[in-house]
Symmetry: C2
């Protein structure tokens, strides 16, 4: 404990507070467009370490078979890159989808059972019983679980940030994610400082970020303070403040080399 | 006031909290070596906006004529790049030199009168009467004054940092400089936060940095929080944590473009 290395292995990578990984989102609406988006991302000079499919953007999300078939198509294109499967909740700025929480849990179960995803992202806002259901089945099938909190309005207090990250850990998450919006530059420093404090007391890898323009700084330097994954723009961005992967990796390379 | 643009014009550049400038030090011991060092710096792909001559490294510092003659040699090579003249005090990790404070003030006066320097760096540790003497004559000859504070042991409290920057302003400095050593990563965030706070209440441009490995981060992103000048390594570095100018400018370019 206390800023020591904490990592989880997913396929060929280790997500840890010692070796930051870069994730790029897929946000297309159809299988055809998703394949094209993924192929474009993989043809760039900087490759992501992880890919997240933001399934709330998928037009056929209510057709479980279409989701499963799309996963079967994406999997071989990804090769060994781990896939995060995320249906971002409308309450946390996901797209509006024709599934209620129960419907979402049913879809996630089928997706887990397909073994075509490596990591699920599920929001802390769900009921504890839904979270436990997802945790149990994901453990059974060897799928890692991110429990996440997003706030697009403000950066809560350091105590609240720590509370949310603790909550993810105590509910059994493999990774705790928190994304908040800064209202000024001091909020970006607050998020970084809270990440540093959380790292000293929480025993799972953390994924934290400050969003928007000012927050883009945290996407570039957050790993120094213990954020294990940062999200970059590939073909598209999925949240405010993501920057192109080439620029992100250029900055991270220089910062990581000197800042120690 | 309050994070608005505050700038001072020196030759063709404006040093302000809105447009960060990069300064590279000269640390050679002889005129010949200084000329070579400067020419090397100016032949690199990334040019500095400012050059600082760290005169405490100069072997003939006790011979005023040698110092003045060296300035006459350097000036045309610099073209329009402003020159900072610094005899870093031994108490703040400058080289050991055969001049006492009085001798240093006498040398600085002659240098100011030569009009071959644009900016002087003088430490706050000097007596108020020495500082006033230097301030008066530098104003008379149109030379800008940095009043500086360095701490190689620790990062003092935010209140102390603000006090030192205020002190520089109230003693009539054109620029207030503060360089401190972090003992952990939180100290780097503390320095950045203090810079942001100082910017809201101090009406001269600030030059702040956290030193050493962790502190190198502040050299790359400090301008976001209101530091107007950052020091990079050209041929040599003059303080711990300076990184090569090419890398510094690459990071600053990406950070400044996104972080707003």
């Amino acid at each position: 404990m206390g800023n020591t290395a904490i990592g989880i292995k997913v396929r060929n990578i280790t997500i840890s507070n010692e070796s930051p990984q870069v994730c790029v989102p897929l946000v297309s609406e159809t299988e055809e467009a998703l394949v094209a988006e993924l192929k474009n991302i993989l043809s760039r000079t900087s490759l992501p370490d992880l890919i997240e499919w933001r399934v709330d953007f998928f037009a056929d999300i209510q057709k479980t078979d279409s989701v499963l078939s799309c996963l079967k198509t994406l999997r071989p294109i990804l090769k060994e890159i781990p896939l995060i499967f995320t249906i971002r909740a409308e309450e946390e700025r996901g797209e509006i989808i024709p599934l209620n929480h129960q419907g979402k849990v049913e879809l996630l179960k089928r997706v887990i059972q397909s073994r075509d995803v490596d990591i699920l992202d599920f929001e802390l806002l769900h009921t504890e019983s839904f979270i436990k259901e997802i945790r149990e089945i994901s453990s059974e099938y060897g799928v890692k679980l991110i429990l996440s909190y997003h706030n697009f309005d403000e950066t809560p207090s350091t105590a609240f940030i720590l509370k949310k990250l603790h909550e993810s850990e105590s509910l059994g998450a493999d990774l705790a994610k928190l994304a908040v919006m800064p209202n000024d530059k001091a909020d970006v420093l607050k998020l970084l400082n809270a990440t540093l404090e959380a790292n000293a007391v929480i025993n799972i890898p953390l994924i934290t970020m400050s969003m928007g323009g000012y927050g883009s700084l945290s996407r570039m330097i957050g790993s120094i303070f213990g954020s294990a994954v940062t999200f970059a723009k590939g073909d598209n961005s999925s949240a405010p403040g993501q920057i192109p992967i080439e620029e992100l990796k250029a900055v991270m390379n220089i910062v990581d080399r000197h800042c120690k």
